[in-house]
């Protein structure tokens, strides 16, 4: 059996769904954040696979941008979660109840 585009796409969609599921179900901000990263990496896998099978390098270059931006986002995000922990001593989403009607 040869590995084709469809195989990569199925893995990518599975990764995306696992990430999305984690974001929706988990209550710990750090785990939610891991889920978000998984979603980005699912997109990266799809882009690289498309790029390889379409013979078009744009997708692979775009992946570099996504990785860079994701790193910046993680840096800011973790800093924010640490700052919140110092103030509130919690990283659970259900404790974020200051702002509501």
């Amino acid at each position: 059996m040869t590995i084709g585009l469809n195989h990569y796409l199925v893995v990518s969609i599975m990764l995306f769904c696992v990430g999305l599921f984690g974001v929706i179900v988990r209550r710990n901000l750090l785990v939610i954040y891991m889920g978000l990263e998984l979603m980005l990496n699912a997109a990266n896998l799809a882009l690289v696979a498309f790029s390889r099978f379409n013979d078009n390098l744009d997708g692979q270059v775009f992946v570099f941008f996504i990785i860079t931006v994701a790193a910046a986002e993680v840096a800011v995000g973790l800093a924010l979660i640490v700052a919140l922990y110092r103030k509130r001593q919690t990283v659970h989403a259900e404790d974020l109840t200051t702002l509501r009607l």
């Binding site: 901000l29 979603m39 997109a43 775009f62 924010l80």
Partner: protein, 495 residues
């Protein structure tokens, strides 16, 4: 590569870096004044861009386009940043450390918006969108000692990152089928994917990310919390700059990249627009926190502008541009007043103890009581701004709504759903009059206001407020010039 096209972006980034460098050497006491230097720099950039506009064309291999629409939005974003920076100078007392970084971050967000207005490729769309969003994570949570600010930042972060995930996956699907990331090249092949579910799903995911930026239903849940918790200048920039960036990208994607598919999506846009208008206006009614109320009202305004986009005509698009111009002066005027009026209240800065959880009770509508006696200029500005937001002639908001409804009604004979949409929008306007006038009543007719001490306003703030008032009146009474600007700006988009 023609670097002359990017004159706005280069100069704004250089200004931001210069600001960060100046921060190293200046004594603490004069750092606050750096905001005025940034404003002066932006005014020079804006005027230079008007006197000597950059040539039209594309660069970076077609990724970056400079055309009428880009130029219109670049001027729009720079004007917004000028007013926001003036507001932040007044707000400086409430930011414990790093006020110069706050100014610099506003400029970096501005550069992201400038790039967004010229995006002609999904890579530039993604990078500029992220430059704006990641900068706003920091700007939102800048008051680290205030729990509300941190919490708003974390909520914005999670929902923002989620929408990024959707956008990127959508781009991957669109790229996989279209075999290109460039809008122009995609337009040539998009027609053949009209009924390809994977392509349409990918496009829908991209629109999800943009819907998050403009706070359209069903991606609006973050808006009220973030608007309430963020520092007031950040909220103002979020309401105007970030939303407008979402709209310019939406215009580009829908009408440059996939024009054939956009024509088929009028029904989807109509439904989203109608729900957004109703949701924003209905949820705003019970609000007591001013910034939260404006957060819901900004959702409603996103709905009105989506109404213009759903008309899928040049008239609708230029009406969106006109509406945004009016929205800029109106919302920034209102937020400047709120920023000053609220911080003159005692005990503005609570430390977020567990007893009251860091809630700002002083942002309640009642804290505007007696504003007309404390400062007539502030009271006049916010009254005019609220009247304009409610859409009452002769102010900018009325004419903007009029143009939007007119564009939608022009399409109505072909599709009757537009009649319903306009009816819902008018119902929304009527609802909005109720809560906007609740605010005005609190200013002029509240019983025994607690504090009648006059509010001192600095000269730059007076200039900025007067500019907002003049803008609202000018756009409302003599609209011809700006209607022409808006029509010219979208000319190339639809051709």
């Amino acid at each position: 590569m023609n670097l002359l096209l990017l004159v706005h972006e280069w100069s704004v980034i250089a200004l931001a870096l210069a600001l960060l460098l100046a921060d190293l050497w200046l004594p603490l006491s004069s750092k606050r004044k750096l905001g005025y230097a940034a404003v002066a720099g932006l005014v020079v950039i804006l005027l230079y861009g008007i006197i000597k506009p950059p040539p039209y064309g594309t660069t970076f291999g077609g990724m970056y386009v400079m055309d009428g629409l880009a130029l219109f939005f670049k001027r729009f974003f720079i004007s917004a940043a000028i007013l926001v920076l003036l507001m932040s100078v007044e707000f400086a007392d409430h930011i414990e450390t790093g006020i110069a970084e706050y100014y610099a971050l506003i400029l970096f967000a501005l550069s992201g918006m400038l790039f967004a207005s010229s995006a002609n490729d999904f890579s530039l769309l993604f990078v500029s969108l992220e430059l704006i969003t990641v900068t706003f994570y920091v700007l939102t949570s800048f008051q680290r000692a205030r729990l509300a600010s941190l919490e708003a930042g974390v909520k914005y972060l999670i929902i923002g990152a989620l929408s990024t995930g959707f956008t990127v996956f959508g781009i991957a699907l669109v790229y996989g089928l279209g075999k290109t990331l460039n809008f122009g090249q995609l337009a040539a092949v998009a027609g053949q994917f009209k009924s390809n579910p994977v392509f349409l799903f990918g496009l829908l995911l991209v629109l999800t990310g943009l819907g998050f930026k403009i706070a359209a239903f069903p991606f609006q849940i973050w808006a009220p919390d973030v608007y309430q918790g963020a520092p007031s200048p950040t909220t103002a920039f979020l309401a105007v700059g970030s939303k407008a960036a979402g709209f310019v990208l939406l215009l580009r994607v829908l009408f440059t990249a996939v024009p054939q598919i956009a024509l088929e999506w009028s029904r989807l846009l109509i439904v989203i627009s109608a729900i957004t208008i109703l949701y924003g206006n209905l949820c705003a009614i019970p609000q007591r926190n001013i910034k939260r109320l404006l957060g819901y009202s900004s959702i409603a305004h996103a709905g009105y502008m989506l109404l213009g986009i759903s008309a899928l005509s040049a008239a609708g698009q230029s009406a969106v541009l006109y509406y945004l111009s009016g929205y800029l002066v109106t919302v920034l005027g209102a937020f400047t007043v709120i920023c000053i009026a609220l911080q003159s209240r005692p005990a503005e800065r609570d430390e977020g103890g567990p007893s009251h959880g860091g809630l700002d009770f002083n942002e309640d509508i009642s804290s505007l009581a007696g504003l007309n006696q404390r400062s007539p200029l502030l009271a006049a500005t916010i009254t005019l701004a609220l009247v304009s937001l409610a859409g009452i002639p002769p102010l900018a908001g009325f004419l903007g709504k009029f143009l939007l409804f007119k564009a939608a009604l022009a399409q109505a004979p072909a599709q009757h759903a537009y009649y319903w949409l306009v009816a819902i929008a008018i119902a929304g306007v009527v609802i909005s009059i109720y809560y906007y006038f609740g605010l005005i009543r609190a200013i002029y007719w509240s019983k025994d206001p607690a504090d009648l001490s006059p509010i001192r306003t600095s000269i730059p703030i007076r200039i900025s407020l007067c500019a907002c008032i003049i803008g609202m009146l000018y756009l409302g009474i003599r609209p011809n010039l700006f209607v022409k600007f808006a029509a010219d700006a979208i000319q190339k988009l639809t051709s």
